[in-house]
């Protein structure tokens, strides 16, 4: 088992590596099969966004503990062009209608917490957390 806690995203193969990392951590933390699948789907979406729109970036997986609760946080960071209209990409139907998959609203639904920070010309930082119940 790898101790690596982040994966550089540059090619489509890296998406698989990021999923594997996330799944390993999720499994270790005790997430069940369904939640593992949700977490890896979220990682896929975020990694694919980096691959498609920023070209280069990083997926980092963190273990969290808070008042005895355990959780997992996915951090997707890139120095790409940023998102010009965040409200629009967070709208239902915006990415799915173009066949682009679940999109950011999907990631938000799959996880418990979702935060996005983007600046045009500087890049995007997305943090999505899921707690173990």
């Amino acid at each position: 088992m790898s101790n690596q806690s982040s994966v550089e995203i540059q090619t489509e193969w890296d998406i698989v590596a990021a999923r594997q990392l996330g799944r390993n951590v999720a499994k270790e933390l005790g997430f069940g099969t369904v939640d593992q699948a949700r977490i890896t789907t979220a990682i896929s979406e975020l990694a694919r966004n980096i691959y498609l729109y920023a070209g280069h970036g990083k997926i980092e997986i963190q273990r969290l503990t808070n008042n005895g609760m355990k959780g997992i946080m996915i951090i997707a960071a890139d120095n790409g062009p940023g998102i010009s209209d965040v409200r629009k990409v967070m709208e239902d139907g915006f990415s799915t209608s173009g066949g682009l998959g679940a999109g950011l609203p999907g990631v938000k639904r799959l996880m418990d917490e979702f935060k996005i920070d983007t600046t045009q010309g500087e890049g995007t930082d997305i943090r999505a957390t899921k707690w173990l119940r």
Binding site: G32, T33, V34, A37, R38, T40, T41, D92, G93, T96, G101, A102, P105, G106, R109, L110
Partner: protein, 333 residues
């Protein structure tokens, strides 16, 4: 709760495995409805199925359990699509409520009072194809038997057309002159529309100025459906053509005006293209059909004639209205 559902499902599955009867399948179908009502996602359903199978048939080879894991992975996106649909439905409902409110506001905003004029019976009906009306009828009148009528139609339907119509209303309000000459009214409104609305929007408008003392109508048109004159004496219909560009095309547009004198029983029929461009299976409904509908009812009050034409045209189009429908009839009595 979750455990109760799990055990319910396990029981349905167990019975099905034993008997494979139609009743078992029907139970399963009913149970799926309950799951949907409780927002259970497809991945959870498969996970529940896998767990129930593991409890009952623990000796099955690993390949069976692995196959379920792949299925669970694949169902995540279906679950998301389902949730997205729910949220879009909710948004659609919000929009519907908002449209209803907007339609009410429009109705209040564009309300006009049919004038009462010596020797004239007026019938009027304006029905939108969707919620918002892109047709508009406006009256202005005074105590001395002068009344102006504007019948306008925005090229387009729904909300954009309705917003555009407010402009025409405010233009008319600012004129507020029941004796204004049609060519002057069209000239003023043309400039208002030209200045204030999008280049892709055009308005056609008929304007008629009625003088009750002389029973004359002076009219002009800005690219609008021609009004029809029915002569009671000869029982004939004729178009009242008048040249002029659509409103909003060019600030330099000039409008003609003409005058007709009404005799007892004559009808002056003003409308939008929603009346003349109705379609049935055989194509456009012929103008003669509409004339015939009016002719059948010529001795009735104007409002009855208008209603009859509407009802019959809707019937011919299988109760569908493809465009906003506006019909006004002046009947000389």
């Amino acid at each position: 709760m979750v455990q109760k559902i799990d055990s319910q499902y396990k029981e349905i599955l167990r019975q099905y495995m034993q008997r494979q009867s139609e009743q078992n399948l029907y139970d399963g179908q009913n149970f799926s409805r309950q799951l949907i009502a409780e927002n259970t996602s497809p991945e959870e359903v498969i996970s529940m199925h896998k767990a129930a199978m593991q409890e009952m048939y623990e000796d099955l080879p690993d390949v069976v359990w692995h196959s379920f894991d792949l299925l669970i992975e694949m169902m995540i996106s279906y679950g998301l699509a389902l949730q997205e649909r729910e949220s879009l439905l909710q948004r659609q409902e919000e929009l519907r409520v908002e449209m209803d409110l907007a339609a009410n506001v429009q109705e209040t905003l564009l309300k006009t009072t049919t004038p009462s004029l010596e020797g004239l019976d007026i019938g009027l009906l304006s029905i939108p194809a969707r919620k918002m009306n892109g047709d508009y009828v406006y009256f202005v009148s005074d105590q001395e038997g002068h009344a102006g009528i504007a019948v306008a139609d925005v090229i387009g339907k729904g909300l954009p057309a309705a917003l555009c119509m407010s402009m025409v209303k405010f233009g008319m309000d600012s004129l507020n002159n029941s004796r204004a000459r049609p060519k002057d009214v069209l000239d003023v409104i043309n400039r208002v529309v030209e200045k204030s609305i999008d280049d892709s929007m055009f308005v056609s408008m008929f304007y008629g100025s009625y003088n009750a003392g002389e029973a004359t109508m002076t009219y002009g048109s800005a690219g609008h459906e021609p009004a029809i004159l029915y002569r009671a004496k000869s029982e004939t219909f004729s178009e009242l053509n008048s040249k002029g560009l659509l409103l909003g095309v060019s600030p330099a547009a000039k409008y003609e005006e003409h005058t007709v004198h009404l005799e007892q029983g004559d009808l002056l029929i003003m409308m939008t293209d929603g009346v003349t461009e109705g379609r049935n299976e055989e194509g456009f409904i012929e103008r003669e059909v509409i004339f015939e509908l009016i002719h059948q009812m010529k001795d009735e009050p104007a409002q009855v004639i208008v209603r009859h034409v509407y009802d019959e045209l809707v019937r011919m189009q299988n109760a569908e209205l493809s465009d906003d429908f506006t019909l006004v009839i002046y009947k000389k009595v």
